[in-house]
């Protein structure tokens, strides 16, 4: 097994991590359809949902659609979980993210269930979300997600989901 050198040039580290993130998020059409972007600081990810008219659920308020909010939370949870799975392999040198591409995608976790709490009306502006993997076992994972708009401490939605780890087909 090859190990990366102790101190790597920052560009190499960034290239590797950004390539892994692209492999997870870029190949999924629905993430592109919603326009979700991922902001990375070290291993911390923030999903960004730039406002778009097609995300509106109530044109009279106007407000974000509950379904768009739910999808945003679920996408964030899946990306965070995939990222957590890939991180260790990547940083230890066991996986070269450059080997991941449209033909070689990382296997994605499958959602078992997902619950969304709608705490406030989603306003017609950008939304942000961060997920935390509370439990990650061999077969199942539990992930919590928080979403906010203008104030980090004023969540407009939160969600909890359970996921089947990739590589297993029994639902």
């Amino acid at each position: 097994m090859t190990r990366p050198p102790k101190v790597e040039p920052v560009q190499i580290v960034k290239q590797r991590r950004d390539a892994a993130l692209r492999a997870i998020a870029h190949g999924v059409p629905y993430i592109q359809f919603l326009g979700i972007q991922i902001d990375r600081r070290g291993d911390e990810l923030t999903a960004v949902l730039p406002f778009d008219d097609k995300l509106i659920g109530n044109p009279f308020l106007p407000a974000l659609h509950g379904g768009a909010t739910a999808a945003f939370l679920e996408v964030t949870a899946i990306i965070e979980l995939s990222w957590a799975l890939i991180w260790e392999e990547m940083e230890s040198g066991r996986l070269d993210p450059r080997s991941l591409g449209p033909e070689h995608l990382p296997r994605l976790p499958r959602t078992i269930d997902f619950t969304v709490d709608y705490l406030r009306t989603g306003l017609p502006r950008d939304a942000y979300a961060r997920a935390r993997v509370n439990r990650s076992g061999r077969r199942y994972a539990s992930v919590h997600v928080e979403a906010w708009q203008d104030n980090r401490s004023r969540l407009f939605a939160q969600g909890t989901g359970h996921f089947m780890m990739p590589g297993r087909t029994d639902g």
């Binding site: 999924v28 059409p29 359809f33 449209p102 959602t111 997902f114 709490d117």
Partner: protein, 149 residues
């Protein structure tokens, strides 16, 4: 259900930009039960390897259908918003299949509606997903002391 209620419910779906963007079509609606379908579209794929629709798109369908069911309730709500929605993904939807959701508003209080819903693809034996949730109900001025949940 009278014609004006039906028209209001139909508008509820066609006036929602996100539902329109997902190609949703109102199939049936009456007395607290709504049926809405969504076409298979490659833009909605959640797993490029299996080409299965993303759970988020199914969530949006179930949420819209549940809201429509609330709006069509005989007590005549004038507005609704999701309080919470839980979705169980029973199995992956078949790539290429249209998905049809059916939501039932099985109980209402003055300010809260309770719903359950299912989503099917063309294989009618087991649903793709089931949902249950609570929605706010806004009452018109004529409904005595109606208020938000």
């Amino acid at each position: 259900m009278n014609d004006s209620k039906r028209t209001a419910a139909e508008q509820f779906v066609s006036a929602i930009p996100h539902s329109k963007a997902l190609g949703m079509v109102l199939e049936d609606i009456a007395d607290g039960v709504a049926v809405i379908s969504m076409p298979y579209d490659e833009r909605f794929i959640g797993d490029p390897q299996t080409r299965v629709i993303h759970g988020g798109a199914v969530s949006a369908l179930l949420d819209t259908c549940s809201g429509a069911a609330v709006m069509s309730h005989p007590t005549g709500p004038i507005g609704t918003a999701t309080i919470d929605l839980r979705i169980d993904y029973l199995r992956p939807a078949r790539p290429g299949d249209r998905i049809t959701a059916r939501a039932e508003c099985y109980h209402v209080t003055r300010a809260v509606a309770f719903i359950r819903a299912t989503a099917h693809d063309m294989d009618m034996t087991i649903p793709v997903a089931t949902a249950s949730g609570a929605f706010t109900i806004e009452r018109g001025p004529d409904a005595s002391k109606g208020g938000r949940g």
